[in-house]
Amino acid sequence: MTPVFYILAALTLAGGLATVMLRPLVHAALAVTVAFGGLALLYLSLDAQFAGFAQILVYIGAVAILVVFAILLTRGSDLPREGVFSPAWLSGLVLAAAIFSVLAWAVLRSANSLPQQMAVPQVTVHDIGIALVGRYVLPLEIVALLLTAATIGAVIVAMHEKGGAQ
């Protein structure tokens, strides 16, 4: 556990905490972008370069922009009168703490059975490409179908009512 890991982990966790605790919605969207960036740097430090750059491209470059657009279109920048936390916030916190304890126990227990020292995997884009059309061709096609369906579905769902269901 190098110091770099601790710094990146602290950055990502701070971004995550800021996301769920900040009241203005735009500030929360920017905080989640910081969390995405921290996660991308963590992937890079774990020798998963393709996943790290894909994370930057897709999450910061598309999902964060999408969220900002949605905030723009639904006028979420006005703060509601009764506050942004639902009245049942305590049960939500208790449930999240319980799930965190179970997950942490599982991870810490399984960390003992991991091999200690091994060679750093050198994964090239070439390897990923061959794996995608070789062993993982079925998930690749299914995800392509899913993305097509999601694109068409999002357009239909968000179309104007006058031109849509008649």
């Binding site: 020798d47 905030i71 449930l95 799930i99 942490a104 998930p139 009512e161």
Partner: protein, 91 residues
């Protein structure tokens, strides 16, 4: 830990967009687990963890697009994004 933060955010916040953002955080946390266990676990040359994480990024992006489209459509209908006020299924 990131997963628990996202889960708390999804359960506690009222704005619908905030819930979707928290769900994205949870998906990212699971991704981080995949990559970390792929790196330090057995068979890192099999690429399984990295593949799963890449597919998960793609699926999460598609789900975010559809979810935000739904939120926009609901906002047009009900003129609010407050989840506590949406307690009926029938429009």
């Amino acid at each position: 830990m990131l997963f628990a933060i996202g889960l708390a955010g999804a359960l506690v916040r009222r704005n619908a967009i905030m819930v979707l953002i928290s769900i994205e955080l949870m998906l990212n946390a699971a991704n981080l687990n995949f990559i970390a266990f792929w790196r330090y676990g057995a068979h890192p040359e099999a690429l399984t963890g990295m593949m799963f994480a890449i597919f998960s990024i793609a699926v999460a992006a598609a789900e975010a697009a559809v979810g935000l489209g739904l939120v926009i459509a609901i906002y047009r209908h009900a003129n609010t994004t407050d989840l506590d006020e949406m307690n009926r299924m029938k429009g």
